[in-house]
Amino acid sequence: MARAQLFVSCMVDLFRPRAGVAAVHILERRGVELEFPPGQTCCGQFAYNAGHHREAAAMGRQLVRAFELSGAAGSPADPPPVIALSGSCAAMIKHELPELLERDALRRGRTHATAARWRRRAEALAGRVVELSQWLDEHHARVPSDAASPEPRAAEPLKVACHTGCHMRRLLGLTEPPLRVLHRAGVEPLELTDADECCGFGGSFGLIEPDISAAMTDAKLAHLATARSEGAACLVSADLGCLMQLGGRLTRRGDEFPTLHLAELVDLADQGRLTATEIGRAARSQGGDA
């Protein structure tokens, strides 16, 4: 059994826990022994990008503590990965957290040695973080066990529109893994026209500029309409922030087109339940799982 820790992200935790539940199932089916450190709250990116670095650092320190491995003598030689359900959060942890914690320690009057220690602790976490679709892509040889026997592949695989968020795309360079994961799950992912254009969420920007944000999303949804006319059954993303932005704008415009986290789609595929009906049901469901 391979060990891993799970970082769900605050948005999944609070707003779409079923994506986290789905992730647990798909990872456990692939032979992962998962630990969910309960001390995790938030990576602090929202506050960080809004310029509120003290608050971001406080959350970041808590995250580092939560994932630090309690072990006999220091950290093990081959520490388990931290699988993250958000590319955006993974990027925050990997690229910004170490420098943020060091800088904030100095701001709070700690010694250089203490500040450097915070940096090292954050770097240790950063080195272990891997976004979900990247992990699935790298471990694609692991066939899901305990899954429904796979239906013979339909001649026409189900089409899904796929959106990869900006941070995953540009900061982590992960444009291909989600597409490959979806292919292997038996769907045909359709990237939107102008795929690399931002969905409009933008963190605090989306809150303080709701009109500009919505205008950007509407441009994206126009391309989604094209994908739908080509047969896309739902919109999938590995980033819940983007999904909530696009899905939230859709329903505000009276459109119930299903939106799913990548983990939920893969979970359905594992179980041989990848139909438009099941997708619709999963998108509407409020709860987690038994």
């Binding site: 310029g51 608050e55 950007m216 704008r249």
Partner: protein
């Protein structure tokens, strides 16, 4: 010394409202931006030496910025050795004063201008017109917006928000005013022919030609001008006086340095391997020459640039004004350049406007004009860390207490609660209690405070009946929530 920029004119809410309510402008801007971004990509793909020159070009810019003062002194010596005049301009008043003094000395009234961002920074046209001079912008796009009495919509293509019908209307009005024949139609050749005729008369009558400058070569005392229309050459060949207003950040150390830098601007800006005309001007005409200006003046503009040297923002001064960041920015594509209230729009404008003019000049730009998508960082040929600078400006605004108190308190409280797991769990429980009243059809449609910004234009899922934490606790640890 901090710089001074012209005021934005209208308030941010008004500029935003106007922009979002103008579908014609938005469509034109988005199309133009996309088109230019594609052309850039195609140019670098088709011409590998361009990319090979880019890295050394970045290095030479960074290096030059470290030695700005010494290089400016060498530049001055070289230009003066060729009979040119060099003067330092701290800010707008210095530029206006200098140009007016030249005009007075020469009894000059008629000025033609080739496109220059630096002269827009210092509102030179307004200063000269207030003193009774006739000033004509000669870059076709700048001519159009001068007639329209508007600000540029884009660093490179200032009239990209105007349709040809709108341009024809402007030309018709100008023809009426000048009592000349109007354009014969609104096809591009007809509109261009009108502008050509009008502006040629201006060139031939002009007494002073004013340009900006793309680069300044310290080693040789050379001003480099990159243009496509020929108005740069006209402006620097016909009037007897040439005045160049150039930011001190345009300094490059050597002739070899400018050789690798030269093509980055046209390639990144419009996808051209080189602009139609690139002029290397070293002082006024030499004895025996039968054309060219008899006087050459170089005004080195500071206006807030010098104090960025040696700071974390220094690389911003590497900007070659290509506009590549504008072309890929989703916010720029949505609201267009005029909404920024500055001659510098797009991502570079978000950074340069507050850095040159002070954060009070444009406090909304760092927070409201950026979705932190990083497209600009990937597009910038000079590898300027634009997102990092925007983040730093956001942080500075908070540290300088420029945020409203409600926002401040929201984040402080939030940080306190979420820095530990029990506080996090508590907010979930509180939210679940409070959100019932704000829901419709199973979704959050209204919310208080900052979160109300979300629900203004989008629905949100409610906080789940059972969070992931709670699910794990219940199903995996066997202990009750």
């Amino acid at each position: 010394m901090p710089g001074v920029l012209p005021p934005a004119g209208a308030s941010w809410p008004e500029r935003r409202r106007r922009a979002l309510a103008d579908p014609t402008m938005r469509a034109a801007v988005a199309l133009s931006a996309r088109n230019l971004a594609e052309k850039k990509a195609a140019a670098y793909a088709a011409y590998p030496p361009g990319e090979a020159m880019r890295k050394p070009a970045v290095a030479s810019r960074r290096e030059a910025l470290k030695h700005t003062d010494a290089l400016l002194e060498e530049l001055t010596r070289q230009v003066e050795a060729r009979g040119g005049h060099v003067s330092r301009a701290g800010g707008p008043a210095d530029v206006g004063r200098y140009v007016l003094a030249v005009a007075r000395r020469r009894g000059a009234q008629r000025v033609v201008k080739s496109k220059s961002m630096a002269t827009e920074e210092v509102a030179l046209n307004e200063q000269l017109e207030a003193a009774g001079l006739h000033v004509r912008e000669t870059d076709l796009g700048e001519y159009i917006i001068q007639l329209a009495r508007e600000r540029p919509a884009h660093i490179l293509v200032p009239a990209s928000h105007k349709t040809r019908q709108q341009i024809r209307a402007l030309f018709d009005a100008e023809a009426e005013k000048s009592k000349v024949a109007p354009p014969t139609g609104d096809a591009t050749p007809e509109l261009t022919a009108f502008a050509r005729r009008q502006l040629r008369a201006e060139f031939l009558a002009a007494e002073i030609g004013i340009t900006g400058g793309n680069f300044l070569v310290a080693e040789t005392g050379t001003l480099v001008l990159i243009t496509n229309e020929g108005n740069g050459r006209m402006t620097t060949s016909l009037p007897p006086v040439h005045i160049a207003v150039v930011g001190i950040d345009k300094i490059v150390a050597t002739w070899d340095d400018v050789a690798v830098l030269l093509q980055q601007a046209p390639m990144s800006g419009t996808g051209q391997l080189i602009s139609t005309y690139t002029s290397f001007i070293t002082g006024p005409r030499l004895p025996g020459e039968l054309d060219g200006p008899e006087e050459f003046h170089l005004l080195l503009l500071d206006n807030g640039r010098h104090e960025l040297l040696g700071t974390a923002y220094e690389d911003v001064l590497s900007c070659i004004r290509c506009g590549a960041c504008l072309n890929v920015c989703p916010v720029f594509r949505t609201i267009g350049g005029q909404a920024y209230g500055s001659m510098y729009s797009g991502p570079i404008g978000v950074v340069l406007t507050p850095l040159l003019g002070g954060l009070d000049q444009a406090p909304e730009l760092p927070k409201s004009a950026c979705a932190m998508c990083y497209a600009c960082r990937d597009a910038c040929p000079m590898e300027i860390e634009l997102p990092r600078h925007i983040l730093a400006l956001r942080r500075t605004e908070i540290e300088e207490s420029m945020e409203p108190l409600t926002v401040r308190l929201t984040f402080e409280l939030w940080g306190r609660f979420w820095a530990n797991p029990s506080g996090f769990r508590l907010t979930a429980r509180l939210a679940r209690l409070g959100q019932r009243a704000l829901m419709r059809n199973g979704r959050l449609t209204r919310a208080p405070g900052l979160v109300g910004g979300w629900t203004a234009t989008r629905d949100s899922p409610p906080v789940a009946k059972e969070t992931f934490h709670e699910w794990w606790q219940r199903t995996r640890t066997g202990s009750p929530t």
